[in-house]
Structures are given as structure tokens and as C-alpha cells.
Symmetry: C2
Subunit: 485 residues, 2 copies
């Protein structure tokens, strides 16, 4: 239905984005914030039509999609507020000391946008991490223009949302090329976008192979550019027995829900559970398996994801020492995907790197350790993660400080007695983590701090006050927080 | 005199650094700050001995080296103060809303150190960007351990400073492997350090070719890591005629001094001056040339740099349309380097990329434009820069807002009526710029914000207060600035 952009169309889009950037980068924080709030309103004004489109294209249920649209609007509005508040500019001012030897100049620092940003729509968040999603909102707040490549699994939804953004730009009389929407099912469109000379940063949420392709293209350019690829992870959960003894049923229900939420299609899906061999653990496994058996089968986002789930979960199941704990009759198929709980001993897990890989979908692997020291070895063996969770009493948490120290080096968010799914959109959220969870652990893709991904610091030395950006003017007309020295 | 570290020694050093990191990352901000202040004291306690070593190894004069040591101590102390103040942790806290649907968890965000950092000593700053220099100070403040590769042009100075750091670690009873000092004249030592699995970040100040070698090795790793390479630039200076008419003599003297400061061996050395053809410009050129002729010849840091200066300046001189404005009898040689002012028309400059390249040393190229619009084309043609300077009246600055807009996209610091040399060590300083000035324009290598290079955000969700890092505890025992939501 939609044709891939040709190489000429990509070149033209980036050129137009670059021209629009020259104007858009000069807009005030208030203008950008107003634009973002209008995009939120226009997204709402799309009504049920866009929800129906998304239901058809993604197989996600109405309730989930309505919630996701509300979340997307919340992102736009809360990042707009943060944009205007201006904390992300990290403004600092050093006043002149003309009498010092040598004299100290007047120096003032703020942030300046990087330039045109290429954003790749994600398959699993047709609203919140696609067309008008978090990356687009952050880039616009920073003063960057956006060229969005629609995800080929929901091109109509994407097209519809893009029209809402175009309308918002029109309302604010901003250049239409501030946001450009392209289609591209083929890798070559993505490659051309990332390698284009006008592209200054890339935002992506998706698979490891997809993210790494973009990252490698970006680093091979004559001018390397930052790539913010959030590539998911297995989000390990460390289970302690005292807590399990006390709360097996509650924890089992929480995790059965978390593992199967959205047919397991979340980057924060808990893919590995790690416990210490004990009657409490075995009771928990039983509880968890029986609750997972009770969860109805679900249809995945598209056939490609369903097929990959079938293949990867089958591969995991046939590894040495792996047992299937859920009902073995409920095997995943391309048509419908059932939840799967596997178990394996830590010693088998430690010697088999295949078991460390993410199975994208409602599948979790329980790793059974002989003792706490084996649990530490498992923790050490894991790669970088978006999240790690600890299910424990406070006493158990205190007793396992060394494990906690290992976990801190391996993830972006640590959760105590909770589930990793359900990423709160707030300032304190870190959604990112050491490689391979993301290609840049120093930034977040959820929360207003995500704006910082698309800007860089710039200092003005001895500049006339009236020619400084507003946030640096002596009178502080924007009233933002500034560090004075 | 000093042997290169073997590959086994590199492996051993990184392994030890990784073990020391496990302890050092847990130290309080106060402990790290105290260590840094003691390193400053021990650097001072090295007395004249280390100055004499550095004079012999670098050919830099006593006064400059004493100032540079004082600057290095100032860096250590001011970054220690910033480390303790804790603004760099960017702490934010989102309190729980248990009644919301779904309930909002308690989330608190701070920064956690990346891990062992490899720092490469620079040739042109034997103190301030070498052993106990800015990168080391920032890494220690962030809680990272450091493996330092001494620059082969001043190994004895480096060894001596390393002993001061070792003494400071001993005084604070910290593991000696928090700072490890290695020698390596061969590229293979650098390659092994960057590619080692324990290395989590790299700091470098030096040439484009050196920085890019490190960057490429780092991106080709199984786990790519950040490289903060500051690779210098030509630091363009835009000259306007009204200002030149009024102040030709003052500006000429400022720039003769800036171009020849430290025999031109600064990354902020003004290598390209851009003016508009007029009697005022020609008078300025004359003034500048005669002042540069009056500057005594100097000896460069080492033979390699002197030879490169001779070759690169000779190559620039022989390009089409290039004229030598300084006394042509004062040609650079390997023994002593004299200052060199060249000129060329903008049209010749625009068609010859060789003239856009940095000539590291006391050489500057004056690009003569026909008018302001040609000046904009020259500005557009330049690559990313550490700094750009504008010599103009306020009225001229106001008239050339489009030029200013181009300049903003191309540099990390804009200077009005001043020289780019003399980088103030303060919070508001941005020493960094778009590629190829640095490999990561989003960070600075001067000023306490440089600490942020070596840390990443981490969130704690629903964590017991007493197990949180101090900066996140509800009572705010460290008394730092925090954003509450």
C-alpha cells in the first residue's frame, strides 16, 4: 500500500529537514512546548479512527492502544513542560573578573540542538515509541527537526499520526518540514537515512540486530553521529527464599502478569528469573507455572515476531538441561502464542550463552542456583540490562550487598519487590542500560531527561547581553534554574 | 629508558583496575574529593624537581610549566569541590502515588561510574592533560579507576607525577590500583588498552589521527565504549572592518600573542582568520605580520611535532594562491619554529580542502572574502570546531545574525572580541565541539561538567531508604541539590 522512499526521496527529505532546522532551532522554548501540546491534542482528535487502524495493524487490543495513546499524549505534554522549565539546558554562568591575572572572561553555557534527527518507529509501541512518540517529542523539545521512518508493521497508523503532527505545525505556522514522514520496509531506506550527511542523530527502539546495523552505519560515516538504540534485554529477576516463602502466591501472580503483558512484547519483559534451590523456590515455580497456564494465548504484533518467538523459544527448550515448567501442550505457533516457563540449573546456564539471549515474547527462564555464591556468578555472567529486579525481604537485601554491587554495574534501573514492566514516564526514570541493552548507557529514552540526547553544550564568552539566547541573558527572562559561579 | 608495557602487562593492569573499581566505586563523594585534594598537594610537594624534568622533556619554559602545574592543582581542587557538591549526579526523585491507577512507584535517579577508564597523556600539556590532568581528575571524581598511558615525549615527568598520585592513595588507604601508570611508545599498547574487555571509557587529547584510531578500535569492540577524544581544530576567527578600523593595533597584538602562545601548540590556537577585503583589513594584516615577525623563534615539544609543522606549513604555503605575509626569511625548521602568517582569497580557500586542515604550530591563514555573503560560504564550508571567535563592534555582530547562526552549529564555544587560547577552568566552560573537533560533542573536557563523561544514570525503584546511595536517601544527608517531582 505504501511505497518505500527512494534514495532520491531520502536525500530530498534530509535536505528539507536541514533547511527547516535552520529556522526551528531558533524557536523559543515556549513555541516548541506549545507545538508539542498541540500535537497531543491533535492525536486525541484522531479519535477512534486511529485506534481502529492500530488494532488492525498490530493485533493489540483496544484498551491497551487507548492507554498507549494517553501515555503518548502525557509524554508530549510532560516533555513540553520540561522543555519550558529549561532544567535540561543545564545553564551555568561564570561572571567576569577583570582584575584577576589573567582577567577572567564572562562565560555562559547552555545547550544547542544537534540538527536533523532520524527516528525509527518501533513495532511494539505504535504510538508511544513511533511517529509522535518519545524520541520525536524529545527531539522537537531540543529544537531538532525529525525525519520519521514509519515501522512497516503499522504504516497506516503512522501515516495518520503524521497528519496530526502536520496539522499542529500548520496551526503554529511552523515549517512543514520540521517533521517529515517516510516509509521504508527495506533496510536500504534506513541505511540511506543514517548515512545521509545532514543526519545528526538517530533514535531507535527495537531488536539488537536492527539497532547494531544503525549503530555501525553511523560510526562508519566520515562524521560519526550518536545513535540512541534501545535494544531490549532479558531483565533478570533475583528471587530470595524468605520473601518467596512469605509471598509465593502474590509474587507468582505479579510475575505471571508481567511475563505475559502485551503477549510479552516489552523490552522490559522479565526473561530470566534466578533463584536458590529450596522448597520455597519450587513452590513458587509451581505457582508461577500454573498461573501462566491460565493466561489465554495471544496474537503477536506481526507474523515475523511470532515466527521468531516460535523459533527462539523452541531453540531454548531444546538446550541441554532445560525443562518446560508450563503445560507442554501449549506450544507457541505462528497463529497464537502461549506463555512459556522454562527452568535450568545455574551450571547449565553458565556454560551455554544461547540461554542468555532474549526470547522476545511471553517466555521466561528460571535459573536454579545451588547457593548465593552461584547466584553471584550468574549475575556476573550476564550482559548489560535495562532493568534488574530483586524479590527479597529487606533483611535479605541487606545480606546480599555484593550481589547488589554486581547488579548496579549491569543495569539502568533496579527494582525492589516489583516487576520491570510498566515504565513510569517521569524525570527520575532511567530507561537505558549498559551495552547491549542500549548503544549509549549515558542517556534515557523515557522521561524528560531524554531531551538531552539531542542537544550539546555551547558556551558564549564575553557576549553582548541582548544577543545571548534568552536563557543566558543577565535578567533571566525565562526564569529558569541556573548555576552561578 | 622506559619499556613499553607488554600485552600481558596491559591485561594484568586492566584486571587489577577492574578489581580496584569494585571497591573505589563505593567510596563516598567526600573520600574521592579528599583524595583529589591530596593529589594536588602531592603534586605541589614534587617541587622544582618535576618542573626541571618537564623542562628537559618538553622544551617548555619554567614559567609556563609552573603555571600549568598550578592550573592542574586548581582542576583537581575545583573538580573535588564539584564532586562533593554533587550537582553532576543530576539527582531527581519521583515520590510514590499508591492510590493512582496504576500505582506510581517511588523512583530515584543518580549517576553511577562507568568502570575502569584508560587515559592517554597528551604531549602539549605535560601536567594539565596528562597523568594527574583533567581526564584523570574527572574519572576519579566519578568513581572510576584510571589506567594512564604516559605520553612517550615526557615519560619521566609522567612517572614522577604518578608517584605523587600513588602517595595520595596510600595516605587515604585506598587500593594502589585505583591509578595504574603504564608506558607505551608503540600504538599496540594503546590498541590493547582500548580493546581490553575491562576498559569502559577512554580519555584522549591529541591529533585527529590518534583520536580516530582509538575511536575506531573502541567502536569495533564486541561491547563498544565511549571515547572522549579532543582532536583540536583550526578555531576560525571572523574579523569585521568597523572593529578593525577602530582597534587594528590592539587586535593585532592580541592575535600575534595568541597565535604564537606556547609556540602555537594549543588545540585552541587560531589557525584561520576570515576577513572582508578592505583597507582596514589590509592594515590589520600588516600590523599582525609585523608583530608576528617580532616574536622570537621557539622550540617545539618534540622533533616529531617540529617536523610535522615544517611539512604542513610548507604544504600550505605552496597551495595555489597562498601568500606568505610574515618575513619569508623566517622559515620553520626542525630546530626552531617561527611564526607564520599566510593569506589566500576565499575563492581559493573554498576549492582547496588542504587549506582547511590544522597546521599544529604558530601558523595562521588569513582568508580574504569579497563580502559578507562569501564569508558565510566560508563559515558553511568549515568542519566542527572547538571555538569560533568574532572580532566586531556590537553593531556588526547584530548585522550578521545569519553568520552567527552558522557558527553556532559548528563549534562548542563562541568568543566575542577575544582570543580562543586561554581556556578558563570553570563550570560554564564548554571545551568540546562537533566532529572532528571531538568524537563526542555532548561533553566537555575542561571544567567540572567533564565528570559527567565517566558516569551513567541509574534509577532505584521502591528501594529501602537505608540501602539507597546517600545522595538518594530521603533525609538528604549530603545536602545536595535534587529535583523533586
Amino acid at each position: 500500500m505504501f511505497k518505500d522512499a527512494t534514495l532520491l526521496e531520502v536525500e530530498d527529505a534530509m535536505h528539507r529537514s536541514c533547511n527547516a532546522f535552520k529556522l526551528f532551532k531558533k524557536t523559543s522554548l515556549a513555541t516548541r512546548a506549545a507545538l508539542m501540546r498541540t500535537i497531543a491534542k491533535e492525536l486525541e482528535a484522531l479519535g477512534d479512527h486511529v485506534i481502529e487502524l492500530a488494532m488492525r495493524e498490530t493485533h493489540l487490543p483496544e484498551g491497551r492502544l487507548k492507554n498507549e495513546r494517553a501515555r503518548t499524549m502525557h509524554q508530549l505534554v510532560s516533555y513540553a513542560n520540561a522543555c519550558e522549565r529549561g532544567d535540561w539546558l543545564n545553564v551555568s554562568m561564570c561572571s567576569a573578573s577583570p582584575d584577576r591575572v589573567p582577567p577572567r572572561p564572562d562565560i555562559r553555557k547552555t545547550m544547542t540542538p544537534l540538527g536533523p534527527v532520524v527516528v525509527f518507529g518501533s513495532s511494539n509501541f505504535p504510538f508511544a515509541y513511533s511517529t509522535a512518540g518519545g524520541d520525536t517529542a524529545c527531539a522537537l523539545a531540543a529544537g531538532c527537526t525529525v525525519v520519521l521512518k514509519a515501522h512497516p508493521a503499522h504504516p497506516e497508523t503512522s501515516e495518520c499520526v503524521a497528519q496530526a503532527i502536520a496539522k499542529a505545525l500548520e496551526i503554529h505556522r511552523l515549517p512543514k518540514d520540521v517533521f517529515i514522514h517516510l516509509h521504508g520496509a527495506s533496510f536500504s531506506v534506513g541505511e540511506a537515512l543514517v548515512k545521509n550527511q545532514h543526519t545528526k542523530a538517530v533514535g531507535f527502539t527495537g531488536s539488537y540486530s536492527g539497532g547494531m546495523a544503525l549503530f555501525n552505519w553511523a560510526q562508519q560515516r566520515k562524521e560519526p553521529i550518536p545513535v540512541f538504540a534501545e535494544m531490549g534485554s532479558v531483565n533478570p529477576v533475583y528471587l530470595f527464599n524468605e520473601k518467596l516463602s512469605a509471598d509465593a502466591v502474590t509474587v507468582a501472580q505479579q510475575y505471571a502478569d508481567s511475563i505475559t503483558l502485551g503477549v510479552g512484547q516489552f523490552c522490559t519483559n522479565p526473561g530470566i528469573l534466578i533463584g536458590i534451590d529450596s522448597p520455597a523456590l519450587h513452590r513458587f515455580i509451581e505457582e508461577l507455572a500454573s498461573r501462566m497456564n491460565a493466561i489465554p494465548e495471544g496474537k503477536m504484533l506481526h507474523d515475523g515476531i511470532a515466527k521468531a518467538y516460535e523459533q527462539r523459544s523452541s531453540r531454548a527448550m531444546t538446550q541441554k538441561g532445560v525443562k518446560v515448567m508450563t503445560d507442554p501442550g501449549r506450544k507457541p505457533s505462528a497463529k497464537s502464542c502461549s506463555a512459556l516457563l522454562l527452568s535450568v540449573t545455574a551450571s547449565s546456564f553458565l556454560e551455554n550463552s544461547i540461554l542468555h539471549e532474549e526470547v522476545f515474547g511471553p517466555c521466561s527462564l528460571l535459573v536454579i542456583c545451588n547457593d548465593a555464591s552461584e547466584m553471584k556468578r550468574v549475575a556476573e555472567s550476564l550482559e548489560g540490562q535495562l532493568t534488574s529486579s530483586v524479590i527479597a525481604t529487606e533483611g535479605e537485601l541487606k545480606q546480599h550487598q555484593e550481589l547488589l554491587s554486581i547488579i548496579q554495574c549491569k543495569c539502568g534501573r533496579i527494582i525492589f519487590n516489583g516487576v520491570p514492566t510498566g515504565v513510569e514516564v517521569c524525570q527520575a526514570m532511567q530507561h537505558g542500560g549498559p551495552f547491549p541493552a542500549t548503544t549509549d548507557s549515558r542517556f534515557t529514552s523515557v522521561g524528560p531527561d531524554g531531551i538531552r540526547r539531542f542537544a550539546r553544550p555551547i558556551s558564549y564568552q564575553n557576549f553582548p547581553d541582548e544577543l545571548l539566547p534568552d536563557e543566558l541573558k543577565s535578567a533571566n527572562p525565562l526564569g529558569i534554574n541556573r548555576t552561578l559561579e
